[in-house]
């Protein structure tokens, strides 16, 4: 009898925990929104939501690629450096026009992805080590290509950063479209299913005859390309190429967004909706602390708390 109740309590606790892990991020966003609506002056305005959405867009785009990497039981630490590389390549090729510069930046991101993927899939280097190497090399290369900040004058690229359609900034539209695209890829395509199978168990996927290597390379190529897109958009918004600081600590923000959003670090599962909410959560948290002029060190501490909570949730999930 008592065993039975204990069992039921454990099941309830388990279900509650799982609900919190799956939907806690939405709850967090809702709470932060309510707190801000109640206590932050001028929070409920179209302009303010526009600002938050524009600021979160590059982080979200990077996080989408990160979600794929984490879903395959990997990680991509090179994303911030890819952003820097993209911004350097834009400046370097802008003389040919904005489109060529955009393509150069994307090619840069794809090449870093190929290198990451080759190291992980063919040579068998741990993702954290392989992408760490590219993180260091990528930033270095970006600074070799463009040793100092350079202004971007191209009007087309500038309007990409500031323009809008019916009041919705290009940046937000692009981020939303990419989120839908990646969600579709994960849920509806063979590649998506193979990715999750590999993330679940690579040996099993191998035994089942899945093209493990090809899929893994593609995962890192997508992550690199998405980070390059984020780098392009951030450059357009800044109207300058700044390879020294662009994308610094972006890998941490992206991993946080993904993990807070309920994607387990153990792979086999990708939650794009949660990732979007995770990115929004971090953005709102930072915005709240800045708007209320709390000491900058608090922002870092608050972010650390969110990361610890997210990792705790991931740990609980990993045990099951």
């Amino acid at each position: 009898m008592s065993e039975l109740t204990l069992g039921r309590a454990a099941v309830d606790r388990d279900r509650l925990l799982r609900l919190l892990q799956d939907y806690g991020v939405y709850l967090g966003v809702a709470v932060l929104l309510l707190v801000n609506i109640a206590f932050t002056p001028h929070f409920l305005s179209a302009e303010n939501f526009r600002t938050q959405a524009v600021q979160v867009a590059p982080v979200l785009i990077v996080a989408l690629g990160m979600a794929l990497a984490i879903g395959s039981e990997g990680v991509d630490l090179s994303v911030g450096s890819v952003m820097a590389l993209a911004t350097s390549l834009i400046s370097l090729y802008l003389g040919y026009g904005a489109w060529i510069a955009l393509i150069a930046a994307l090619v840069g991101g794809v090449l870093v992805g190929v290198a990451n993927g080759a190291l992980v899939a063919f040579i068998g280097v741990q993702p954290i080590v392989a992408t760490l190497a590219l993180m260091v090399a990528g930033r270095g290369l970006a600074l070799v290509l463009l040793p100092q900040l350079k202004d971007v004058r191209d009007p087309g690229l500038r309007s990409l950063g500031t323009g809008d359609v019916l009041g919705i900034p290009y940046l937000v539209l692009i981020a939303a479209a990419l989120a839908l695209l990646v969600a579709f890829v994960v849920r509806r395509t063979t590649f998506g299913r193979q990715l999750l199978a590999i993330g679940d168990s690579r040996p099993a996927a191998q035994l089942a005859g899945l093209p493990v290597r090809r899929v893994l390379v593609l995962v890192y190529v997508l992550s690199g390309a998405l980070a390059a897109v984020a780098g392009v958009l951030a450059t357009a918004r800044l109207t300058a190429s700044d390879p020294t600081s662009l994308g610094n600590l972006m890998e941490l923000s992206a991993i946080t967004a993904v993990v807070v959003g309920g994607t387990p670090l153990t792979g086999g599962r990708v939650r794009i909706g949660g990732t979007v909410a995770g990115a929004v959560l971090i953005q709102l948290l930072t915005a709240t602390l800045i708007k209320h002029d709390l000491p900058p060190s608090w922002t870092q501490i608050a972010q650390a708390v969110v990361i610890v909570l997210a990792v705790y949730a991931a740990r609980e999930r990993g045990k099951r």
Binding site: S45, F122, P147, Q148, L149, R153, T162, T244, I290
Partner: protein, 366 residues
Amino acid sequence: MTQTVPHRRTASRALLAAGLVASLALATGCAKSEDDNNASDKGSSSAANENAGQEVASPDGGKTCDIAAFGGEKADLKSATVGFSQSEKEANPFRIAETASLKAEAKKRGVKLLTANAQSQFSKQISDVQDLISKGADLLVIAPLNSDGWEPVLRAAGAKHIPIVTVDRKINATACKDYVSFIGSDFVEQGKRAADQMIEATGGKGTIAILLGAAGNNVTTERTKGFEDRIKEKAPDLKVVFKQTGEFAREKGQQVTEQLIQSKPDITGIYAENDEMGLGAVNALKGAGKKAGDVKIVTVDGTRNAVQGIVDGWISGVIESNPRFGPLAFQTLDSFTKGDKVGQDIVIKDSAYTKDNAESDLSKAY
């Protein structure tokens, strides 16, 4: 399971590697950036701009040092080798102008100059300086990354009686014993002068936001202290209502300012502790549909972009932090090695840019 690698795969790997290298070469080879010619012209002219050399703010005040007090022997600077240790990568206008100025002055005087760059790693700077000493530097100019931790270097240099001049940042050691002189700006004074400009631009009334530099940096704390003290003292109706870090970077300055103008749309002025954050603030104001001059911006550094910002009406004033240490550093070393007295604390006079002189002095900005 055995891990045999077929030849085909080795070949494909080699191909991949070759492809990567080739595309890299291609990336740098056929690059063509916007206004390439202008950029290189600008770089050389501003770096070697002789009109913009430093002046000493208080030439005769303070303690002095000469070679008799320091120990060592007189020498002729012309036949000496000078080692220069730079702290950060020459990726921002200040460091670029600083290194270029020292190189230009060494060339002008015909002095052999050895250089090293610590890439923002303090341990590398320590070994850089030791390398410079072992490569035969008779005199050292150091742009220190940190104030503390110089013991090993000072011991090695002291054993050989190598005179050291530190530029732009001080080290925690005894002047005229561990090192000869420090040449640099007074960051507290820069903050005070920025406050003066802010008071003038705003008429001494309203609310002010501060974009702080990187945390834990003496430049940040001193530029903040000078500014806040002067505001309190001279303009009690000017209130600092917002202080957030922009980490000396344009992107962060822009993001923080975007949050600021959402929550405090009627802010009167923004004090940015370097030009880059100020330019980020300008981006944010433009994005929010503000017009030039709606919010008064005062920044510190004196880079060309910021001074151009005054000409365009977006920035009210820029306090200069002059990076051209070359002439003064070599002049100090020259006097010292001849046996003359030199100041222990040589504080340089930084000029300022306002709408009155921005256009005419634009060429002096770095």
